[in-house]
């Protein structure tokens, strides 16, 4: 592998450029990630939001080099800052580089389902220690144990000494997810990917785990990519939000921009389908139709056929990313100068006003 060094601005940790990825299937090629670009700064949290199947997990797996055997990166680069003066293109890294330099030590991931994520025949303490020892973050087993116990405490597990020796089946789902988080933090990575970390958990425990991740974010100043299909949970977690649909990022901006001034009809749909905070809705909205089959991606904007606001142009050609502000972009022809001035649906506008008030009163 050529040790070509790439450039990233100093505060930047990750830049994904035009990532295009497909899976070979017996009945065709599934174009799952289509020209995705985004970036992440040190200490920043980016939420990637979208319906299930939109390509969020595959994107994060691509960052970690975990693409299934039938998958192929067709185009694009994933630039990652390994150290102050080393940047690698992760699409070109071999397995050995990933194991030794990236996985666990620089980028860690929390999977969705804590029930299956832990090795059932290994005490959880050992599973936390393993990574530190592998990457030489500690000098001895004794030190690894001390640090693991401290980590268990940090992620909010009581009686760490007892838990350390227990097996996964002796812990509840919430506790297991805390252990998975401890494993992710074991080597003090620079980037933490949380792929729907609460989807498989009970509602009450969901909130606890979200609080824990927020707490980690504040304390460690780590960069986080937070994946979720639920826009609701990112409201006060993310600095920036990227909305993903059918393998593309359709809107991206600061959290406030995407929440309070969304411009893409898909984002409107997602926001409208959130249950309201007070639960006083007469009816809960849901986006009509279902995502397209990406073996035969539709022409133009892949959301057009589900959208009430689609223009003729949306069915004809791919909308480019229009800039709304320096930080806010969206891919819809509605933003074109020639397009009729369309406003977001009235009901949604009301809700956003309510949300703003609600949120403001909490501050």
């Amino acid at each position: 592998m050529s040790e070509k060094n790439y450039y990233l601005p100093p505060q930047r940790i990750l830049e994904v450029h035009n990532l295009t990825l497909s899976f070979q299937l017996y009945n065709g090629v599934n174009h799952v990630i289509r020209d995705v670009s985004f970036h992440l700064d040190k200490g920043e949290t980016l939420a990637i939001v979208g319906e299930s199947g939109s390509g969020k997990s595959v994107t994060t797996k691509a960052i970690l080099g975990l693409i299934d055997e039938n998958g192929r990166i067709e185009r694009g680069e994933i630039l990652f800052r390994v150290s102050d003066d080393e940047v690698l293109d992760l699409t070109k890294c071999d397995l050995d580089t990933f194991q030794k330099k990236i996985r666990g030590s620089k980028i860690a991931i929390i999977f969705q389902d804590p029930m299956t994520a832990l090795n059932p025949t290994m005490p959880v303490g050992k599973q936390i220690m393993e990574g530190m020892l592998e990457h030489g973050k500690v000098k001895s087993k004794a030190e690894a144990k001390r640090r693991s116990l401290a980590l268990l405490e940090e992620v909010g597990i009581d009686q760490p000494n007892k838990r350390f020796k227990q097996y996964p089946h002796q812990l509840s789902g919430g506790m297991r997810q805390r252990v998975v988080i401890a494993i992710a933090l074991a080597c003090e990575p620079d980037l933490l990917i949380a792929d729907e970390p609460t989807t498989a958990l009970d509602v009450t425990i969901q909130a606890q785990i979200l609080d824990l991740i927020k707490d980690i974010q504040k304390r460690l100043n780590i960069s986080i990519i937070f994946i979720t299909h639920d826009l609701g949970v990112v409201a006060n977690m993310a600095d920036r939000v990227a909305v993903m649909y059918a393998g593309k990022i359709v809107e991206e901006g600061l959290a406030d921009e995407v929440f309070y001034a969304p411009v893409h009809p898909y984002t409107w749909g997602l926001l409208s389908s959130l249950p309201s905070i007070k639960g006083t809705d007469r009816h809960i909205y849901s986006i009509p139709g279902s995502p397209p089959n990406l073996i035969f991606p539709p022409q133009g904007d892949a959301f057009a056929y589900r959208s009430e606001y689609a223009l003729v142009a949306d069915f004809e050609s791919d909308p480019p990313m229009f800039e709304v502000s320096k930080t806010h972009k969206a891919a819809t022809w509605l933003l074109d100068k020639r397009a009729p001035k369309l406003k977001m649906p009235h009901l949604l506008k009301e809700r956003i006003e309510a949300m703003k008030k609600e949120h403001g009163s909490h501050e």
């Binding site: 975990l66 990236i102 996985r103 005490p123 393993e130 990574g131 592998e134 097996y167 089946h169």
Partner: protein, 310 residues
Amino acid sequence: MVKYVLKRLFWALVTVLLILFILFLLLEFMPGSPFNEEKLTVDQIRILKEHYGLDKPFFEKFWIFLVNATKGDFGISYNLQKNMKVSQIVMPRLWVSVRLGLQAIGLGSVMGVILGVISGSNQNNWKDSVATIMAVVGVSIPSFVFALTLSFLLGYKIPIFSMIYQANHPFASTILPTISLSLFTMAQVTRFLRTELVEVMDSEYIRLATVKGLSRIKILFKHGFRNALISVVTIFGPLVVNVLTGSLVIEKIFSIPGIGGLLVLAIQSSDYNIIVMVTFIYSVLYIAVNLLVDVLYGVIDPRIRVSKGA
């Protein structure tokens, strides 16, 4: 864990008792009697029966049988070596058989584990294909065919190994029978381990181990292998049965003086006491293996160890 083992032990004992009872029933209702000389008068038979305790009530006789059996006394041989204690005929041969069986199980398991790991961790390339073919061959061809082929090729055509058992070279002269007997075990262990390993290596916790940045070897052995082994352990019961039954024929082919050959002889000459004792030994071996499997299972799988009383 102790409680778990004790419970298993208790049930193993119950099973042994049950088997002894069934064997006793068989003896009781076996046609004929030891005293079928025509010259004996009714009185003489009565005296003989009294002498040997055969006139006692059923359960008392069973009790005596039980007590003697636990002492290893299964009476005397009727035909093979008249009036010699059965245990004196069986025991020396038992060790020959046990030794052969252990060699075969040991060789088969080691080879099976090696092939299973190679095949399960190199899915669908040539290494996997070779191991899979060996496994299919090992399962589908009976051990006596191997035995005959091996002894013809490596004992007769190219005489490297001994074709028959030599008491003064118990290891060198059992190499061919060990290989023949071990093939089935090898094949089964390979097959099971491969299937399990493929499944385990596709699980979420292996993915987690991978994203921790562990080396391939550590992922395979520390996380994959142990979990795959759990279900492989369960097939050891049936494997031992296969080795036991296989040894009946293998011992005959290589003239090995073991209990397998003895059982065949005893059946041919209706030497009931020997049949009973050898059958009993086979049963106990089988129960012991299953007990061992249960215990091993608990050792390997913490979910069983911890939940069944630590």
